[in-house]
């Protein structure tokens, strides 16, 4: 594996993944003791995705997790006690008991936007965060996650198209865990690699093995760096597997046994432990020290949560509006007068780089200025309109997209599930599945 993480930082990746897993195991026990008020959604087997992606971000960057991305919240600096108290509906939770699970955030310090249960809506919201960050010259990247299931929503399309059109510094992690509740991905989307959808938005994409935390980290880090450098949004598909059911009540009998075994054999934490041992990055003593630290922290935070009170009933009536309880002030990293007239003034005309006819595809490409100008005047296109030109050759299928794969060139293949083996055929990763690996 080719990566630049120091030993300390690799051990930190292990720490966050194991913290994520142990925290959730404790919550399962609490669930069985009826101490979790609502549902509990396990991310078992997906810890490398949550941790590896968020670990590629800077403190100033913004995230909006999905419900299973507890590891991303931990990496962002939120504490196990926040997760415990949220699930147990305590007054000490970040939402004071008004919402549960991972439905909380932190605008001022950690830069975390709370998810809602309706999937896809975070994508346009985080596109807006990215645009605002650029407007304020904060040099931030905005990241959110979407599942294979959520990628079918209209909000996914609208948000990704808007972010592409506005060239937003936005990273979308498509966390393909093979199942949308009880429906396998092959029955939701008729393409093998969901990253291929990037072609349709004119944005770049990558694919990584979601159960290999270093592959996830490396791929995401490159994506984040490119994004910060102004190359526009990027879609990163990580292939993983939801090992448990949709939530605690769901025994997931619908998952084929062989598929479960296949993925269990690729457990991200076991794999990473093996790697750390084989690479001599730790020994048994050092591992037990990290594990003991996790136990200690979780003991303390679980105790805190269990001893915390429920909210007072009258709280239900409070906080519908912001009545001056929050100060709203943007963090400006550029002089405001750049954004005020006369500096902000432009000629209100469209720049149209090419005229859309078949015969001239590409003809005016080099004259097109980069999208997402910073409010500065740019030259009007020098291209002259060409009229009444019949196409000289039949239209070609578009294969010039910036994404890295072309579905049409791949042989038609019915895959029973995820990256698992086809019937009677040993599993062998196909070349394009290795794109995210190093």
């Amino acid at each position: 594996m080719n990566h630049s993480l120091t030993r300390e930082r690799q051990l930190e990746l292990y720490y966050y993944m194991q913290l994520n897993r142990q925290l959730e195991e404790r919550m399962e026990r609490l669930f069985r003791q009826n101490k979790i008020v609502g549902g509990l959604y396990s991310s078992l087997g997906q810890e490398a995705v949550s941790v590896g992606t968020a670990y590629a971000l800077e403190t100033r960057d913004w995230i909006a997790p999905m419900i299973r991305n507890i590891g991303a919240l931990l990496v962002k600096g939120l504490k196990p006690r926040d997760i415990f108290t949220q699930h147990m509906a305590r007054y000490t939770s970040p939402t004071l008991g008004k919402d549960g699970t991972s439905h909380f955030g932190d605008l001022k310090v950690r830069h975390v936007v709370s998810p809602i249960s309706m999937l896809g809506d975070l994508i346009p919201v985080m596109a807006g965060v990215a645009i605002a960050g650029r407007y304020l010259a904060q040099n931030i990247v905005a990241m959110t996650w979407i599942g294979d299931g959520g990628s079918s929503t209209g909000a996914f399309h609208e948000g990704l198209n808007l972010s592409a059109t506005l060239h937003a510094p936005f990273v979308l992690i498509l966390e393909n865990n093979q199942w949308a509740y009880s429906t396998p991905v092959s029955h939701q989307v008729p393409i093998k690699n969901l990253a291929d959808r990037a072609v349709a938005y004119g944005i770049r994409s990558r694919i990584a093995d979601g159960n290999d935390v270093l592959a996830v980290y490396n791929t995401t880090k490159e994506a984040v760096d490119e994004c910060r450098a102004g190359r526009g949004p990027i879609l990163v598909e990580v292939k993983t597997m939801r090992i448990k059911g949709h939530a605690q009540h769901d025994s997931a009998q619908y998952v084929p046994r062989r598929m479960l075994d296949f993925w269990k054999a690729r457990d991200p934490i076991t794999r990473f432990e093996k790697y750390l041992t084989e690479s001599k990055l730790w020994d048994a003593k050092q591992k037990s020290e990290v594990d003991a630290r996790i136990e200690r922290e979780l003991d303390e935070d679980q105790k805190f949560a269990e001893e915390s009170p429920m909210p007072p009933p009258e709280l239900a009536e409070q906080g519908v509006y912001c009545d001056g309880c929050h100060t709203i002030e943007a963090d400006w990293h550029r002089p405001k007068n750049e954004l005020m007239p006369p500096a902000s003034s432009v000629e209100a005309v469209w720049e149209v780089a090419d005229f859309g006819a078949l015969s001239e595809v590409g003809a005016h490409r080099k004259q097109a200025s980069a999208a997402g100008g910073n409010g500065k005047k740019s030259a009007r296109p020098a291209a002259k309109p060409v009229t009444n030109v019949a196409p000289k050759e039949p239209p070609k299928s578009s294969s010039h997209g910036p994404a890295q794969s072309d579905v049409s060139k791949q042989p038609a293949l019915r895959v029973p599930f995820g990256r698992g083996p086809a019937k009677g055929k040993p599993f062998e990763p196909r070349p394009h599945d290795k794109r995210g690996r190093h």
């Binding site: 809602i116 605002a132 509006y321 963090d331 005020m340």
Partner: protein, 324 residues
């Protein structure tokens, strides 16, 4: 002072707020180069630039979602629905994401969602609606619906400066039909305060938006019949100014509610409930209402006329009520 249309007053509010505060940005469909379907935003792109006046793809969910995200970083976005009917396309963003944000996790959403609404211009079922009550039923939002140029400017400025998501309805029938002298420069009109447009003793007519003008015309005719009607303009539907309504009913003892929105689930029902709860013993007659029909807004002029309340319908209802 020059006479100003409601449309011009709205543009002035946008212009002045953008001059005042670089945190104010706009996004919507065709608002920049084209200046908006009704030309409300004409001239703003040229003055404030592409970072502050953002032409978006046709995607209402993305417009509203992005505005919400921008507001989380302390900006004050004003998002436009080309016609307010299209707010249905982003219902989830508005009701689940934005409205619940502050209550759930303490994240204020200081944004405005504005757009042309209402009938009387032969727009048909998808360009004439009054969808305000979907949102009056959604805690966390504020819903503003002005009837005059003065109020439109002052309320829009208040909406932009408010820390909460404000839905700002602009009745398109009024855009260019009403004109009045409004003071130059900065002033605001408070959100959540109704106003008595005409004082009277015999009965109270509560209304808002275009129907305020219909109600005032009806009141003039009623005066010729010896009925002295008080007319209240709600201006804000959420939060509702209960006190102004109750004070008037306690004085006149009779209440008629007039709105263009459809009848079932319209705000007349909520106002009737409030008055029954808090001023039942002051009532001398049944609470009456004149509203749009419980149908979509039809296209053909005779059908739309049938749909809409008008002066005659208000006069008939008020005359009946006055007999108690």
């Amino acid at each position: 002072m020059p006479e100003t249309t409601m449309l011009e007053a709205i543009r002035q509010a946008l212009y002045e707020e953008m001059e005042r505060d670089p945190a104010v940005v706009m996004l919507g469909e065709d608002i920049g180069v084209y200046g908006g379907a009704f030309k409300v935003t004409e001239g703003l792109l040229a003055r404030f630039g592409r970072d502050r006046v953002i032409d978006t793809p046709i995607s209402e969910t993305a417009i509203v979602g992005a505005a919400c995200g921008m507001s989380y970083l302390g900006l004050r976005p004003v998002a436009e629905m080309q016609f307010i009917d299209f707010i249905a396309c982003c219902f989830n963003q508005v009701t689940n994401f934005i409205a619940k944000s502050h209550y759930r996790w303490g994240a204020p959403v200081p944004m405005v969602l504005r757009g042309p609404s209402g009938g009387g211009v032969h727009g048909g079922p998808f360009h004439s609606a009054n969808p305000e009550m979907y949102f009056v039923h959604t805690p966390g939002l504020k819903v503003v619906y002005p009837s005059t140029a003065y109020d439109a400017k002052g309320l829009l400025k208040s909406a932009i400066r408010d820390n909460n998501p404000v839905l700002f309805f602009e009745h398109k029938f009024l855009y260019r039909r009403i004109k009045e002298q409004i003071p130059e420069g900065d002033y605001t009109v408070p959100i959540g305060k109704a106003i008595v447009r005409r004082e009277g003793r015999d009965l109270t007519i509560v209304s808002y938006a275009a129907m305020v003008h219909t109600s005032l015309e009806a009141a003039e005719q009623l005066a010729k019949q010896g009925i002295d009607a008080e007319v209240i303009d709600l201006r804000t539907l959420l939060p509702l100014d209960r006190e102004t309504i109750l004070a008037s009913v306690r004085k006149t003892n009779k209440l008629l509610v007039v709105h263009e929105d459809t009848r079932t689930g319209g705000i007349a029902g909520e106002i009737a409930a409030i008055v029954c709860e808090d001023a039942f013993e002051d009532l001398d007659g049944p609470i009456a209402r004149v509203t749009g029909l419980d149908t979509p807004v039809p296209y053909a002029p005779p059908l739309e006329e049938r749909f809409l309340p008008n002066k005659e319908k208000v006069v008939v209802a008020a005359s009946e009520l006055a007999k108690y």
